[in-house]
Amino acid sequence: MNHATWPARVILIVISAVIVWTVIAAQRGKKLFIRRIPGLTAIEEAVGRAVEMGRGILLSSGLGGIDVVTLQALAICTNIASAAARYGTKVQMPIYEAALLPIAEDAISSAYNKAGRGDAFSSDDVRYLSNQQFAYAAGVAGMIQREQYAATFLFGTFFAESLIMAENANMVGAIQVAGTPSTTQIPFFIASCDYVIIGDEYYAATAYLTRQPTLLGSMIGQDRVKIGILFVVVLGFLLTLGKLPLVKNLFEDKDMPAASYFSPAKGGK
């Protein structure tokens, strides 16, 4: 079982405090700027294209269970569903994890209600397929071929099945936007999709789409933390050059006596 070391406790608490503080500041009305992110702008373009073509939209939240990554994917999908519902475009969402089904159904139905089109929502559109990786992939591929979607959105945790889904969508001429924290799948999405959301853009998506103060604050908080960590990386580099590996010692897996953190490196490596 992993447990925090003293430096990890301090660092995590400081990082969390910075993020929560920025969220609270944003909720209190502080104006925050967010730059244009091409991959996220493409979401609106893809929804628009589906509306023009009069064909449906496929949303997939990947193979994750109820975790942070999948809930973020669901948040993005809900925003897309809301935009699609506003224009009367059908949205379908196959589910991999049964436990996610009621949450996804509730979220997508709320998105329809928010768009004033609650009557257009059908519970069949959010459907459980399978919790077997390739059975799910085959099911999604079948849906893509039958429904001939105009746009597909693949957000969440993906593994080898990513290419099966993306290539089938490409075959039917769907515009594709994908985003995943699974770094091993990013190259496959880049090769097969029109737009890919990379890295922390994945967590910025909801802030970008909704411009809600809470989410914008969280995003700015993340940026501040990253700037801070970057500063620590540079400091660590300089200190290690001076044979004082303080920063390296802070990230050791076990606690050390306080004086050891400042002890000079042995061997000069």
Partner: protein, 265 residues
């Protein structure tokens, strides 16, 4: 309380758990709408706090087996999560069966496939559960046929299709349309050549020592993988880690709910 039970004690615990679950379920349905949000926020916070405290609380004991007063409860709490998730499996099966039964009943397009799916589900359930309780060889054979003979083979077939999709996706990605696509093509070509003997043979004449060794294709491929690809992946992971932490904090403190479930808090 969380010890493994056997015999009569097991059935007593199961009955007790079922009664408590039913009472809890009805109690939750009686909660006034106004109180539901604070209740969910409270439960979410308490559940998150348990794992946070267990991680942050100072530990003691021999190295490799360090514990604090909460560590012993990690497994039972994980089991509770598993039990809650398994309840949802019924919902998933209901969703799947109802959609396909309706399709069959209304003879909609592709109804035969829906029928195959329902029949397959029934056969698989009978075979998989039956093999545990029925010692007859036919049920074992049915399970072997359905699981190893069909399902595993179908899984392997889907997996092998990826090889063809990789080729078609790579063809589109590697077409020289922009500077980025050209860089992608050149790096991919170097890495592919660096991984195979025939590629390595191209630069075999270059000495593997001194400055010239850098121009051998396998060394170039290695350099791209270790000095360009790995730091880029680490940078992506770094951003994702911070993003994940921020999202987890929003969920834990119920700041996130406004983004998709309800209006902004």
């Amino acid at each position: 309380m969380f010890q493994t039970q056997h015999g009569a004690a097991l059935y007593t615990h199961l009955a007790g758990a079922a009664v408590v679950s039913v009472i809890l379920f009805f109690a939750l349905t009686l909660v006034p709408t106004k109180l539901r949000r604070p209740l969910i926020m409270g439960v979410t916070f308490a559940a998150g706090l348990f794992y946070a405290l267990e991680f942050f609380w100072p530990v003691s004991g021999p190295e490799g087996d360090q514990k604090n007063f909460l560590t012993a409860y990690i497994k039972p709490f994980s089991d509770i999560t598993t039990v809650l998730q398994s309840f949802a499996l019924g919902l998933g099966v209901y969703s799947l069966v109802s959609i396909h039964m309706r399709k069959v009943a209304r003879s909609q397009s592709g109804w035969a496939y829906s029928l195959v799916l329902i029949l397959s589900m029934i056969v698989m359930v009978i075979a998989h559960i039956g093999k545990e309780y029925i010692k007859s060889p036919w049920i074992q054979q049915l399970n072997e046929f359905a699981y190893s003979g069909l399902m595993k083979s179908l899984d392997a077939t889907m997996f092998s299709i990826i090889a063809f999709y990789i080729v078609s996706a790579a063809y589109r990605a590697f077409r020289i349309r922009s500077t980025e696509a050209t860089i992608l093509l050149v790096s991919a070509a170097i890495i592919m050549l660096g991984q195979v003997a025939i590629g390595q043979a191209i630069t075999n004449g270059i000495p593997n020592e001194g400055l010239t060794a850098n121009f051998r294709v396998e060394n170039l491929a290695n350099w791209i993988l270790k000095k360009v690809n790995s730091p880029a992946i680490m940078a992506i992971d770094f951003g994702l880690g911070v993003g994940g932490l921020a999202t987890a904090l929003r969920l834990w403190l119920s700041l996130e709910r406004g983004s998709y479930f309800e209006e902004e808090l």
